[in-house]
């Protein structure tokens, strides 16, 4: 029971992080029809902004996190305006290549700015909690809680507000949505901004937990992509479900089988694609 609780919490921390990223990815995919490979880089950029503000400028952690989210949100909007929108009418190879380019330039720049060792900041929530013999650090509990709140907020926004309805309509059929008076240009900006904001949120949440380095984005984006694929491209609920699923499988697997268990995520993806090519909760999209 004790061990189970411990593993359970670990996998929640993992899932929470993945879900925040996957939600951004799936939103971007639904509206912009781009696989945002730079998303992992946004995440790392967010983490580094927090690191720089806390460690070098001496700001409070929460101030730093908020600044990071706003800065990275702005970065996302800028990239949409400068790179993705001009390419939106072109073939998908173009925007995929361009976003890869953006991501690599950002990674290279980060490596130049923050030279040397991997970094982290001290944990902000001190202390541990003991529940039935399992020791849970406050830090990790807060992470899960914060991620949970953000996810619920996002879910309500997508499901219950007019803007959310517009976004879903756009994801389903851009042409008809535009005929209903939905401003596609604005929605693209909005989605890109929100998604980058989420990536930075995920990034700032992990800075106190893990050591970060500029090239970490690749591994993270890989997981997030798998989650989006398993959950169904463009599906919010699917991403949440798949994020939990992969987080659970992974932390149980790694605990009991070792690093080989990460292969399990891939097997899940293959299985899902074989039996439900559109993903667990996805709808089929037309690609162009």
């Amino acid at each position: 029971m004790t061990e189970f609780l411990q593993v359970g919490l670990n996998c929640l921390v993992l899932s929470a992080n993945y879900i925040l990223l996957a939600l951004g990815l799936t939103l971007i995919f639904g509206i912009l029809r781009v696989l945002n490979f730079a998303h992992g880089t946004f995440y790392i950029c967010g983490a580094y902004v927090v690191y720089a503000l806390v460690q070098r400028a001496g700001l409070h952690y929460f101030q730093a996190a908020l600044t990071a989210m706003i800065v990275i949100g702005g970065l996302g909007i800028f990239i949409e305006a400068a790179v993705l929108y001009p390419l939106s009418e072109k073939v998908k190879v173009a925007s995929l290549g361009a976003i890869l380019g953006v991501s690599m330039i950002l990674e290279g720049a980060l490596a130049f700015i923050f030279e040397g060792e991997d970094v982290t900041i001290g944990s902000h929530f001190k202390g541990i909690l003991t529940v039935r013999g399992a020791t849970l650090s406050r830090e990790r509990l807060m992470v899960v809680l914060l991620c949970g709140l953000i996810v619920i907020g996002l879910y309500v926004w997508i499901r219950r507000t007019r803007q959310g309805i517009a976004i879903r309509a756009l994801a389903e059929n851009p042409r008809v949505a535009a005929l209903q008076g939905i401003n596609i240009r604005f929605m693209r900006f909005l989605v890109m901004g929100v998604a980058s904001f989420l990536a930075a949120a995920a990034g700032s949440i992990v800075t106190p937990l893990f050591y970060i380095n500029p090239f970490m984005g690749g591994g993270i984006i890989f997981k997030a992509l798998l989650i989006v694929a398993v959950g169904g491209m463009g599906s919010i609920e699917g991403s949440i479900l798949a994020g939990l699923l992969i987080g659970v499988v992974e932390s149980i697997g790694v605990t009991y089988l070792g690093p080989v268990a990460e292969v399990a995520s891939f097997l899940i993806v293959i299985a899902v694609f074989l039996f439900r090519p559109q993903g667990l909760l996805g709808v089929e999209y037309e690609f162009h």
Binding site: F29, L35, V83, P86, L87, K90, K92, V93, A94, L96, G97, A98, L100, G101, V102, S103, M104, I105, L106, E107, G108, A109, A111, F112, F215, G218, F222, L225, L226, V228, A229, M233, G258, P259, V260, E262, V263, S265, F266, V269, I270, F273, L274, P277, Y285, F287
Partner: protein, 322 residues
């Protein structure tokens, strides 16, 4: 045969001749090492373009390089099989894996397929780096070099020098390029190109989409495997760390820079040029490599979407306007 065709053939002939004579002008072993890197990149980029023909944006070419390399290395080390057979064995292993994977995943289309290839590559790398049988994180060291071969007219030739290896790789590149070029020009190539445009229509004309997709995929991965086996015996070591997703992404960028118009030429041009600049940058600071690749792909996407191959045409258009 009209004039331009003939001109093209002569240019091609000179290109091949130049490649054979290249080591005479640059006898420095380090330079030859760079050319070897170019050759391997060319093979991968050609394969990537071949797979692009069927509408699949592969993000997992590094995996097939790894499979070929590990197969040949393990065969040579554990079973004592000659590296020359290993080259074929590596290619075959990659081809077989590509066949099995391809039959399963090539039913999926579009960006989902890209994600699958990406995930597959990462899984292969994880397996190689975690299982003790494959040497774990440390990889495999002490892989035997190419053994001497008795050649007609030349006597017994040793193949453990960079120069000799260069010629081996050159032959592989030429074979790969010729096969890809012929495939692309033939009816097969036209079917490949029809599939992403309108699969249903192709199907109604009696084309079995999956079969042709698999043919393209397996051919590309076979040559990637051969290239992988070659690198194993050339460098004598293998590390799982050299097959990270970023390597697959580099392949994509190289191929896109070269140009999609011709599989063989685009792959060769993009692979060679990018690796030349890359190896120069590596001497300065490895971080510039990322920025360089990123900047190049951005510039190419915006200003030269058809790649370097379309550059002469673009220049001609530009000068005509003036």
């Amino acid at each position: 045969m009209n004039f331009t065709d003939r001109k093209k053939k002569i240019i091609l002939l000179f290109l091949v001749l130049g490649l054979f004579l290249l080591p005479l002008f640059f006898p420095n072993p380090a330079r030859i090492g760079m050319f070897v890197g170019c050759g391997v990149a060319s093979i991968l980029a050609m394969g990537w373009l071949m797979i692009l023909r069927i509408g699949c944006l592969s993000l997992g070419q590094a995996a097939f390089l790894a499979i070929g390399g590990y197969t040949s290395a393990l065969l040579a080390q554990k079973a004592g099989i000659s590296p020359w057979i290993g080259l074929l064995a590596g290619g075959t292993a990659s081809g077989v894996v590509a066949l099995v994977i391809g039959v399963v995943v090539l039913r999926v289309r579009g960006l989902s397929l890209s994600i699958i290839t990406f995930a597959f590559a990462e899984m292969v790398r994880l397996l190689f780096s975690t299982l003790d049988f494959f040497g774990g994180h440390g990889g495999i060291t002490g892989i035997p070099s190419f053994t001497p071969l008795p050649l007609p007219a030349l006597g017994t030739v040793r193949f453990d020098s960079p120069l000799a290896s260069y010629y081996v790789l050159l032959l592989i590149v030429l074979v790969c390029g010729t096969v890809m070029w012929r495939m692309d020009q033939s009816a097969l190539g036209r079917i490949f190109r029809a599939l992403p445009q309108n699969e249903a229509l192709a199907q109604s004309l009696g084309v079995h989409p999956l079969r042709y997709k698999v043919i393209s995929f397996v051919t590309a991965c076979f040559f990637a495997g051969v290239a992988g086996a070659f690198t194993a015996h050339y460098y004598n070591v293998l590390f799982p760390g050299s097959y990270t997703p970023i390597q697959s992404i580099f392949v994509q960028i190289q191929a896109t820079v070269g140009g999609v118009a011709s599989v063989a030429l685009g792959g060769f041009l993009g692979g060679s040029l990018m690796v030349m600049v890359e190896s120069w940058l590596l001497n300065v600071d490895s971080r510039w490599v990322y920025i360089f690749y990123g900047a190049v792909i951005l510039v190419v996407t915006f200003f030269l979407p058809e790649g370097l191959l379309s550059l002469p045409q673009k220049i001609k258009q530009f000068t005509k306007k003036k």
